[in-house]
Structures are given as C-alpha cells and as structure tokens.
Amino acid sequence: MSLKKITSHKMFLPVFCMILVLCANMIYDASQGSDFYEFFKVGITNGYLSGRLVNILNRGSETAILAVGMTLVVSASAGTDISVGSVMALCASVCCVILAGPAAPQATELAAPLIVGVLGGIAIGALCGAFNGALVAYLNIQPMVATLILWTAARATGLLVCNNLIVYVRNDTFGILGGFIGMFPTPILVAAIVIAAVALLLKLSAMGLYVQSVGINKKASRIAGLNSKRIIFLCYLLCGVCAAIAGVVASSRITSADSNNIGLNYELDAILAVALGGNSLGGGRFNLAGSIIGAYTIQAITTTMYNMKISTAVTPVFKAIVVIVIVAIQAPPVKAWFKKLSARNASASAKGVANA
C-alpha cells in the first residue's frame, strides 16, 4: 500500500531515474577499484571546482534551461517545440556578431557592452518564440509542424548572420557566462537564476494555474474566463527566451558562435527531460522540478557513458531505450492491460474466497 503511494508520487519517476544512474556510477566506480563515492567527490583543479557532480551540473545547464520552457509548452499545448536547438544557435550567432562588431570573425575586444549582445540574443529568441506561439495559438497549427519551420530556418539564419563563419569573441568578459566566476562555474548560476525566476513567476502569479487549466481543458478554461490562446502564446514566448539564454551560455562556453553545432539535438534532450520528469506529453499538470531533475539525469547519463569509455556517439541508443520504456509504461493500452491483469488477480482471489 505504502509502496503504491510512493510509486504514484509525482516525483517518483525523475528521482527513481536519477538514483538508477547514480547506482550505475557507484557500481562501476567500485568495480574499477575507486571509491564508490568517487562520483560525489568535489575537488579543485587549476583553481576551479571540479569533479563529476560539478561537471554534470555545469554541462547540464543548457538542457535544464530549455527544459523549463519546454515544460510550459508541453503543459499548455500538448505539443513540443522542436525549434529550441536551432533557436539556440541563432541567438548565439546574433549575440556574438553584436559583440564582435566589425571585427568579425575574430574579435578580442567587445564592440558593444556585454549586456547589449546578451539582450540582443534574448530579443531574437523572444521573437522566435512569438512566431511559434502565433502559429500554434492563433492559427491552430499543430505545435510540431509550426515549430518545424524555425527548426529548419533558425540555424540556417544563424549561419547567414555569421556569414557562414565561426565568429570568435575571445574576450574574458564574454567568457564568464560560460566559464567561471571565481572558482564557481557560471552556467550553474545562470540555470539557477532562470529556474528561480520562472519558479517565482509561477509562484507569484496565477500563470501556473492558467497554463495547467488550459492544458487540461481548453474549452472549460475559456468558459471560466481564461484567454486560452494568449496563454499558449505566452508559453511559447517564454520557451523562446529560455532557448536564447541557453544559446548565449553555450556560445560563451566556447567563446564563439558555431551555428552548425550549438544546440544540435538539444530539442530532443529537452523533450526527453520533460518526459523523464514525469510530465505527460499530452499536456496538463506539470512538474517543473521533475523536468529539471530529468535534464540533469540526461547529462548524468552522458557523463556516465563518457566515464565508462563508451563513445558519445553511442549514447543515443541508451537514450532511445529510456524514452521508449518510459512512454510505453504510460501508454493507455499498457495501463489498461496492467489494470486488467490486477483486476483478474483480484477477481480470481475473490472467487477463491467465494468457493471456499
């Protein structure tokens, strides 16, 4: 009975997956002759925090930021925004081009204040989000199809903005965003700020209630006085902004705008993070904390594989299996089958009692 209570808790799935990955790490470490708590060791190398845990938190920042926006989009519109990876690349390019100014493609001095570049990138992200949102909310186009347009166009536009080159901004100020403040990795901080800001927004405004309400029952929400279309639009807008922030962090990390590679396949990671977080991809109730744990779990899987000397190119196979297993468990026919099975067991035992 209490077991059932635990498994039905909304945080069960993400935490369970996380623990699974941690266990895999510990067993591997122990089998390699290292301490089983090797994973949790935090050290200082070259004056920076280091260690696998720090690494995961650092590298997983972009996915976590994307997962925040994606969670809202999935909840409100029962669809996914597949353009986020592409939008990341575009925003990174815009940001770097503004910062590099005429000195492109190789700048060491900032041509504009850092904040202008970052805000420029974020503005482009918001624009992309608004475009997606308008198509989905007001023209009633399926989310995946609507975002397919920017999926194709945004990355290509990013390349165009950079004149098909990799624009380098080799400047320490810019590098901070993806680097370190003191010895602390900045991306973790950025992710924390984004998460805190969105959490605060959800806490202080009625947005969370609105989004879930629209995602569960659009018609009833309208009768109850919510503007369903505007709410869906807002979610996509926010998702675009999140993608922009992730893009800026990603480009700062490599102090350049590499449109071909920044954010590549990140949309899939973000969607996977949402699914891992125990959110139904059919919309409705959402669990932001779950999505974030999901995002870090994905990074943990990648890091673990790397650690086990499995080629990063092979990682997708494991991701695929994880996705399918998780969605298959949630699939209605499978659930119905389980229910039938338990009902049959129950009736069989009841019959047994009656016969006795």
Partner: protein, 348 residues
C-alpha cells in the same frame, strides 16, 4: 443540361487540395525558369542540370514517398534520416569488413528496415504512443547504432566491392540534348541507377495509393480514424503497415543515397527527415492526414533540389540559403493549409 452539369463538376473538382498541388507545380516551374533565365550562361538550361537534381535527390524521393504514406495516416516519422545513415554505414562496413556481396548487404539493409518499421508501427498503432515520440526514439537509436557499427568515415571504392561500384557508376545516356564540353566532345545527358530505383518506387507507390485497398485505407485512417474503424477497417494494422512501408522505403532510399555518396559516416544524412517532411508538406500533404499524393511530393523534392542547384550555380550565395528558402516555403504552405482549413470550417 448534361453540359451544365459537367461544368459544375469541373468547377467542383478544383477543391483546395488540387489548388495546393497546382501552386506547388507552378512554383517549381517558376523557380526553374528563374534559374534558367538567371544562370543560363552557367549551363542551367542544360538537361543535365535537371537530371543532376534528380540524381542527387534519388534517395530523398524514396524516403519522402515513405514519409508521405505515414503522413497520410496522420502520423510522422522523424527517424528516417538516422535510418539512412545506419543503412549507409551498414552497407559500407559490411562490404569492407565482412566482405559480403552487394546483393546480400542490400537485402540485409531492407530486412533491418522492415524490423525497424515493425517496432515503430507497433508502438504507434497498438501501444498508441505519439508518433513523434516513437520516431524520436527511433532516430536516437538508429544514429547511435550507426556509431556502434563504426565511428570512422568509410568510403566504398571499386576495391571494396566491385558490384556495388558498378551499380553506382551505371549510367543511362539519353539520345538527345547533348552539350559539348570544354574539349568539344558532345556529352549526352545521363542518369544513374538511383534515379531508376527512385522513379520505380514513385510509380509503384502512386499506383498503390490509388488502386489498392491498403492505399485507400491509408487515406481513410488519416481522414477519420474513428470513421474508418466504424466502416470496418483495421486502423491499428493500417498504421503498423504504414510505418513498415516507410522504413522499408527509407532503406531503399538509403541504398540510393549510398550509391550517390559512396561513403558513410555517423553524421551522414542529418536533417534528411526534415527535408522529407518539408517536401511532402510543400507537395500538398496535410500533416493532419488524409490528403496528399506522391506526385506532389516529387515536386516538393524537386523544388528543394532546384533551390540548392540555384544556390550552387550562383556560387556566391551562402550555403544556408537553401534551408532558409525551404523554411519560408514551408511556412507559406503550412499557413496556406491552415487558412484553407479555417475557411472550410467556417463554411460549415
């Protein structure tokens, strides 16, 4: 009386779907004509340019035909790009490391396509998981498996497999339209085996969609799954078969693709799925299902190819323009479709 009835008929026939197809064809003609006018001096008017578009997109035609079939049922399959990569890698690795013959490897690739489709189709049809998620997992899986086979850049040369090399370099010359090259030798326009395969696939799928029970049931399921079930069709089985068909066609496309590139790498054919989807949509296939045919899809592919050819011939335009233009076209057609849908709803 009968005459007036006929004209009425004609007018009715011009429904929105036909309009969309006509727009697509007109767009292709205009684009190609624009290319001819602008780059006539650079040989754009040669028949060979057109055949080259076909040659480099033979694989995409096969894949897009499969995609159209899946989209007709209202589904989507984004795993095709990765599957093509896996096929190419398997072909190259099998022929160079296991020294298997080309026909055996091709059959193996087709068999893998079949199994791949069965699994995806089962998940969509019988487990009722969203097609996007299923094929996203398929995409991860195939891309990962490509890396499992090999992470090297492999190329297929005559030394690796003579048969496959011969297939790939096989050329059919047309008896007309020849153009003298720089040395003054007249070279007749030609096309390769990939184009032949693609055109056969196209014709077969066209006939299948039009004249077989299965073909029509794809439309019925996409039009209204509930109605199709009420009329006695097996919706789940139809969906399963659609995904199997798509994966098998993708494998055939993979073979064509491989014959064109004669190489394999992990990052091969990235974004091919979106090209296939874009081609279908531009060709008038509705993502909601039930409407579309492969003729439109062919023109969708050709439009994509023409844009690339124009950008290439120009030589100065950035390589990202084809993607941006494709996206713009996609946007145009999607918005057009949704406007048609809104109008239809309003009429009711």
């Amino acid at each position: 009386m009968s005459k007036s009835a006929n004209t009425l008929k004609e007018r009715k026939q011009m429904n929105s779907n036909t309009v969309l197809l006509l727009i697509t064809i007109a767009l292709f003609v205009v684009l190609y004509a624009a290319g001819c006018v602008a780059y006539g001096s650079k040989g754009f008017t040669n028949l060979q340019t057109f055949l080259n578009i076909l040659r480099s997109n033979a694989g995409l035609i096969c894949v897009a035909c499969g995609m159209t079939c899946v989209m007709l049922t209202g589904g989507i399959d984004i795993s095709v790009g990765s599957l093509v990569a896996m096929d190419c890698m398997l072909l190259a690795y099998g022929m160079s490391n296991w020294h298997l013959s080309a026909p055996v490897m091709c059959l193996l690739v087709l068999a893998i396509g079949l199994v791949f489709g069965l699994v995806q189709g089962f998940c969509v049809g019988y487990l009722e998981i969203q097609p996007f998620i299923v094929s996203m997992a398929g995409m991860f899986f195939a891309r990962g498996m490509t890396a499992v086979i090999s992470t090297d850049q492999l190329s297929i040369t005559a030394d690796v497999n003579q048969t496959f090399y011969d297939w790939s370099s096989f050329r059919i010359y047309l008896p007309f339209g020849g153009v003298p090259n720089r040395k003054g030798v007249v070279i007749m326009p030609y096309f390769g085996s990939g184009v032949v395969i693609a055109l056969v696939v196209l014709v077969v799928i066209f006939l299948m969609l039009r004249y077989t029970k299965f073909g029509r049931s794809l439309y019925a399921v996409g039009g209204s799954a509930q109605s199709a079930a009420m009329m006695g069709l097996n919706v789940k089985k139809t969906q399963l078969k659609a995904y199997v068909l798509c994966s098998v066609l993708t494998s055939i496309g993979g073979i064509c693709y491989c014959m064109n590139t004669m190489s394999a790498s992990v990052s091969q054919a990235t974004g091919l799925e979106m090209q296939a989807i874009a081609s279908s949509v531009i060709g008038g296939t509705l993502l909601t299902g039930g409407v579309g045919n492969v003729i439109g899809t062919l023109f969708g592919v050709l439009i994509n190819g023409t844009i690339s050819a124009i950008v290439q011939t120009n030589g100065k335009l950035a390589s990202s323009w084809p993607n941006i233009l494709t996206a713009a076209l996609l946007c145009f057609f999607i918005v057009l479709q949704s406007i048609f849908a809104l109008l239809k709803e309003r009429k009711k």
